[in-house]
Symmetry: C2
Subunit: 241 residues, 2 copies
């Protein structure tokens, strides 16, 4: 069965955590909204989101369709896909730990988004730039080191070794931490470089994930959308201090 991922076709955004898991596992999937409109792409995304025939419609993209199942919320999609793709460790405890890591990554992503939209999601960045400068300073100085330091410690404490977050094998939590670091490096290159000097395990994990054959092929393909100023991680130099 082909998985259908429904997400904005022009950004990495939250959907990228799901794309990376599907790509790293070599799963059979289609990124529906990136198809031409005649094949369900483009504006059909919102129509599908609000499909009145779906009793369990999601609040927002991304959502995954697997047969008659429709699942929304990025972390819930990965909770569902993880064991099916072999990316959630080898026990219930591992799966829950992978999920807990993902939820913490989701918290960082939300805070990263708030740096450029601290006052209103519906207004432009330029209208809330002064507030963004203050929020971004706090994020750079307090939150990035605290969050990434926690992941460094989680790697350090892993009884199965410090190359993975969950047991001794790749999980979607590793893929998502790779994506988080990639996003922070794009949005806050100076602040992230400073923070990473104290985070050798996180830095190595980021490098190692990028070298995985399927991940590397994906990152070099046109399927990987470039970071841009419509997504979660946006590079506004003034927000990097």
């Amino acid at each position: 069965m082909t998985y259908q991922l429904h997400y904005w076709p022009s950004i990495q955004g939250r959907g990228e955590f799901v794309r990376l898991a599907l790509e790293a596992a070599g799963a059979d999937y289609v990124d529906v909204a990136r198809k031409p409109p005649s094949k369900g792409g483009g504006a059909a995304l919102m129509k599908k989101l609000h499909d009145p025939a779906n009793p369990r419609a999601s609040f927002a993209p991304p959502f995954l369709v697997d047969g008659d199942r429709v699942i929304g919320q990025t972390a819930a999609i990965l909770l569902y896909l993880g064991p099916r793709l072999g990316l959630a460790g080898s026990s219930e405890a591992d799966a829950l730990w992978a999920h807990q890591l993902q939820l913490t990554i989701a918290d960082v992503a939300t805070e990263a988004h708030d740096t450029h939209h601290p006052l209103s999601i519906g207004s432009y960045y330029e209208e809330q730039r002064d507030a963004a400068l203050v929020r971004a300073e706090d994020f750079r100085n307090q939150r990035i080191p605290k969050f990434l330091g926690w992941f460094e410690e989680a790697l350090r404490r892993n009884p199965a070794g410090d190359r993975h977050l969950v047991g001794g094998a790749l999980s979607y939590a590793d893929l998502s931490l790779f994506q988080l670091v990639a996003g922070l490096r794009y949005a806050f290159p100076k602040a992230t470089r400073r923070a990473m000097t104290k985070l050798p395990r996180v830095a190595r994990l980021h490098t190692n994930v990028a070298r995985l054959a399927r991940v590397r092929a994906y990152l070099q393909s046109p399927r990987r959308i470039a970071f841009n100023e419509d997504g979660i991680f946006r590079h506004y130099p003034e927000l990097d201090g």
Copy 2:
């Protein structure tokens, strides 16, 4: 086995979603940090959080201890407890839908917190009040109606009837939606009253949950901490428009 909940002892906060599930199920649990310091309460919370012997320490409270398991992130705790407490429906699909609802409630809670702390989590409200006024206006006018309207629609579309969010029985998603409405009514009484006039199913669910015998007993007990201006939902009249 007695569940141990570890959370800030003076606020409802995110821990309240877990407390409500444990209380509604009549579970055997202890709210550890509310005990006297001699019994592990008070400042021992942070010591326990950072316990170097725990290879899977949480980023922040709340966390749940069940035997040798330590689980952090509110939604992950409820994912774990849901089936064990009989509060997650009757199938894998139900459990995932309950979780998806919980993750969306968590999103609203984060945005509600951002209304009084739009610029920095580490600074006082009074230092970011001007920004808070702008953020709160957006939250009241755009986000509360959009989020609560989505829950109304989820109830309306439930094939098992519009009195529950997951199938035909109580789930932790119902309890959490009760708590969300209670929090919004405390923090934004005027805006929430306006929104609720169009949300009869959400309003009825809120009333019905409060009438459940165990929930009612809990709400009337000293175990229920009152809303206050240290939690997620804070009543600053100026933020209610």
